[in-house]
Amino acid sequence: MAEAAGVPAESLAGCRARAARTVLDQVVLPGEELLLPDQEDGDGPGGAGERPLRLNAAARSRGRVVCGPGLRRCGDRLLVTKCGRLRHKEPGSGSGGGVYWVDSQQKRYVPVKGDHVIGIVTAKSGDIFKVDVGGSEPASLSYLAFEGATKRNRPNVQVGDLIYGQFVVANKDMEPEMVCIDSCGRANGMGVIGQDGLLFKVTLGLIRKLLAPDCEILQEVGKLYPLEIVFGMNGRIWVKAKTIQQTLILANILEACEHMTADQRKQIFSRLAES
């Protein structure tokens, strides 16, 4: 018994670290270690003798590698912390290395600096608003963090309003803080989201899928009828159309399109277009 249990454990431990580029777009599990391209073992199969020379040259020209969400640094290697598919993006211009990250799915949002989110104002205490963003703590939003706000000219924000803003402080040690202006002091579409409409919650992966540059779903949705959508990276979507029925249809489509195939989606859209 002990022997049988011991052997698999050894073999597992032996082949734990895989090269990152061999695992691209495949499922990785938490606990796996990944080797960066210029750390692969010289005595792998094929070309063992020549490898060390080539790797040294590559190592010097390698720039900084960015390890994104789902990965952590572990010595010289990457350690996977979320299960999902491993992705890689080549560096656009110069600053080398590229970005590795894990495309995972989750519903719980963790505040990240720079993310644009939709929040609900829950309290107004003194000079700051407490905004619920779906994280572990409500974020704080100062009343001066709106475009054109001064001590005398306060923004018109009430409890229960929807706010579209971005995080300036978001780490595990401090309460998250958000603002509704950018670094130049302009609003850029952030601030209180208007009247009416519907707010609903989806998974974080769906938001990223919908906000991808080549998203067909949004293009098709845009052809149906005039509408307005706001996407928050915390999994919240706000939609508004001319009638309540149209708004509800839109909300249902967006929620359902996560689990539909492209054909099913096209069927639904064509049915809608007819009616």
């Binding site: 590698v65 990250w101 579209y164 579409g189 005039p226 706001v230 928050g232």
Partner: protein, 146 residues
């Protein structure tokens, strides 16, 4: 030596006092008696944000003219992402650096002349080109030596 109008300590005495303070401080400072650990420069940076990974569009959208301001914003923000890459390459200067340096050199003299008293205006002589060039030697009060 006569010393009039002397406030505070002499510079020598000051130096001595500073050195004594430093000695006291360095003896009191605690330090670890370990060999210096050399941290390897790591090539890996950790980032928790998806903005670097994927090129995501701007979060507010409007279709078929429902909200014209948002539609304008959409165009602005989505082209800003692509325009940023192009702008890095071309930085055009209206005025070259050398010309700026020349202008500033003469500007200092012109403005200085404006605020100088009549007696001092003679210091600002005119160059051949008509540019104002301030001469450095100005008449200052010389302290009588003992």
């Amino acid at each position: 030596m006569d010393r009039f109008m002397q406030r505070g300590l002499d510079s020598e005495t000051k130096k001595q006092l500073e050195e004594e303070e430093k000695k006291i401080i360095s003896e009191e400072h605690w330090y670890l008696d370990l060999p210096e650990l050399k941290e390897k420069e790591s090539f890996i940076i950790e980032e928790q944000s998806f903005l670097l990974c994927e090129d995501l569009l701007y979060g507010r959208m409007s279709f078929r003219g429902f909200n014209p301001e948002v539609e304008k914003l959409m165009l602005q923000m989505n082209t800003k992402n692509k325009a940023e890459e192009v702008e890095e390459q071309t930085v055009e200067l209206d005025v070259s650096d050398e010309e700026m340096a020349r202008r500033y050199e003469t500007l200092v003299g012109t403005i200085g002349k404006k605020f100088a008293k009549k007696r001092d205006r003679a210091i600002y002589e005119e160059d051949e080109n008509g540019d104002i060039k301030p001469v450095k030697a100005k008449k200052m009060f010389l302290k009588p030596q003992d």
